[in-house]
Amino acid sequence: MISKDELAYLAKISKIDLSEDEAEKFPKQLERTIEYIDILEELSSDDPIVLDLQEIKLDELRDDVIKMSGGRRINKNLTEDGFLKGPKMK
């Protein structure tokens, strides 16, 4: 069951505003999906959590070397000093 409150909570933690239309039809649609994935409950909890995970050896990892390739990565909303202007915090 996805109530309107639950939906509102999910939207809040996902930081997504819903339109009125979406707020109306999402509870049912999401519920359909959750019912669909509920079948997973049939699976045993005893099976090992994860077998066969991809592994990598320590010596395959990146060396501690500095590599700066220059150029601006952020172009939006910069102040004169180079700070990024963000929205208010409070």
Partner: protein, 480 residues
């Protein structure tokens, strides 16, 4: 005031790393223009992937070993999901101890002193977010945020302890010892601005835990805890319930204040980081590190006592000041006389440098080098100058950096061993201190007084042994 329980959550940057944890930008972001130490990856641009720094794993393992932790065979990373403007991906890549996978260290133990041990819950490797700079005032001021991502992605180590501390002094001792350990390992420079953060949780009399965040230096921690204990006690005494909450430390007003409760309601939705495979550390990894990692403070202490035959007291003073201990061992390379050099360093030398002990330049830019001290001690041991003279010379060369021998020559500082000169001095003193001379015939104390006067007469240069002999001879002569 019993039953105080304090636990710590420390974040320390692995400042010894050249690059960030998941990309090749500079690990040291200080003094750089905002948003210049960034790349596609640490900005979280679409399509970029974290590429982990092998050295970060080595250094964090060293810290785990030093804190007595268990090191797993394999490690995994997790995502901690939350939104915040300083977090480029709106999740942090970190570690999590769950479902059989451990972080880089767990279940450690740290000896505070002979009677107390602190349990280390876990140590994990994670990335630092960027910084939000507020235009004026603190976080409470209504201004737009200015964001700088230079720091985003820098490697952090998080150390979490059990609430084993029972008073703020223990916490301070722990933090000092931890800093010392990190300094010895050479992985974190805790004096660098912003390199350490400490969150504390405090509860009294078995009550609710209060978390205090935003303590930005180890020095402020003791103050914050003291304030909080007082606050909680006062509430307890007035029968006010202490809520489990998060508070912030204001280091200007020196108070803790309640943080907005929104911050407490986070469902971080942890799940394994898909872009980083499980990392196999290998069977020999830990033993190799142990063999090659820098000496820990207690190991160095043992070595000073057994190899150099220093007293435990002296060794302790040296060990607790790593740069001084390094200076000491450098001096030994020039002239091997551990006991004398150590004594000289921890007394006369240390009193001159004590004021700078907290600066990151401490001992680094000193004009006086190990060679100078070696020469001074060598001259003392060769009986060429007295201890007092040595101290004088040290003061003189401290700002100039001239060699002691040079100064000694120029100022005629060498010990007077010449008996004729000394005899003149003794005669002079005997003439002026007639009553003391009388006393000296019966009172031994007075002989020392006369010696002191001879030393003064010769500006400290008289060889005390010879002078004493001459004084005694003179006394005996007049006795006859």
């Amino acid at each position: 005031m019993s039953l105080v329980m304090i636990g710590l959550e420390i974040h320390a940057q692995i400042t010894a790393l050249k690059s960030k944890l998941f990309c090749s930008c500079h690990g040291n972001y200080r003094d750089l223009k905002p948003n210049t130490n960034i790349c596609e990856t640490c900005c979280g641009l679409p399509g970029t992937l974290p590429i982990i720094n092998r050295k970060a794993i080595e250094y964090s393992t060293m810290i785990s070993i030093a804190l007595g932790c268990k090191i797993p065979n394999k490690i995994m990373f997790y995502r901690k999901n939350y939104f915040y403007p300083d977090l480029p991906k709106n999740f942090q890549i970190t570690q999590y101890n769950v479902y059989g996978f451990s972080s880089i260290g767990a279940e450690g133990i740290f000896e505070l002193d002979d009677s107390k041990k602190i349990r280390i819950t876990r140590i994990q490797l994670e990335e630092d977010p960027g910084r939000i700079v507020y235009l004026e005032g603190g976080m409470n001021v209504r201004n737009s945020a200015l964001i700088d991502y230079n720091r985003a992605g820098v490697a952090l180590i998080e150390i979490v302890t059990e609430p084993d501390f029972t008073n703020p002094k223990e916490v301070r001792l722990f933090l000092n010892k931890l800093s010392l350990t990190l300094e010895h390992l050479g992985v974190c420079d805790t004096l660098l601005e912003g390199s350490v953060r400490c969150d504390v949780n405090v509860s009294i009399k078995g009550g609710n835990k209060v978390e205090i965040k935003n303590i930005n230096s180890f020095k402020e921690v003791e103050k914050a805890i003291n304030y909080e204990i007082t606050r909680q006690n006062s509430m307890f005494n007035r029968n006010i319930k202490i809520d489990s909450e998060t508070r912030h430390w204001d280091d200007r007003k020196k108070i803790t204040y309640k943080a907005r409760s929104k911050e407490e309601e986070h469902d971080y939705r942890y799940f394994p980081e898909p872009d980083i495979p499980v990392i196999i550390l290998g069977d020999n990894f830990v033993s190799n590190l142990q063999d090659h990692m820098p000496e820990l403070p207690n190991q160095r202490f043992d070595r000073f006592v057994s190899k150099y035959k220093l007293s435990e007291h002296t060794s302790n003073i040296l060990i607790n000041d790593k740069k001084l201990a390094d200076f000491f061992e450098s001096t030994l390379k020039v002239y091997f006389s551990p006991v004398e050099i150590a004594n000289f360093l921890i007394t006369d030398f240390k009193s001159l440098i004590q004021d700078d002990i907290d600066s990151s330049d401490y001992l680094r830019n000193l004009k006086v080098k190990p060679e100078h001290i070696a020469e001074l001690v060598k001259m003392m041991e060769g009986n060429k100058i007295s201890r007092i003279t040595a101290k004088d010379i040290l003061v003189k060369i401290f700002d100039s950096g001239k060699l002691p021998s040079e100064v000694a020559n120029n100022t005629n500082a060498f010990k007077i061993a010449d008996e004729k000169t000394l005899m003149d001095a003794v005669e002079s003193v005997f003439n002026t201190e007639k009553s003391a001379v009388e006393d000296a015939r019966t009172n031994h104390e007075a002989i020392n007084f006369l010696l002191g006067k001879v030393m003064k007469f010769t500006n400290g240069r008289a060889d005390p042994k010879i002078a004493m002999r001459l004084i005694n001879n003179r006394l005996n002569k007049s006795n006859r």
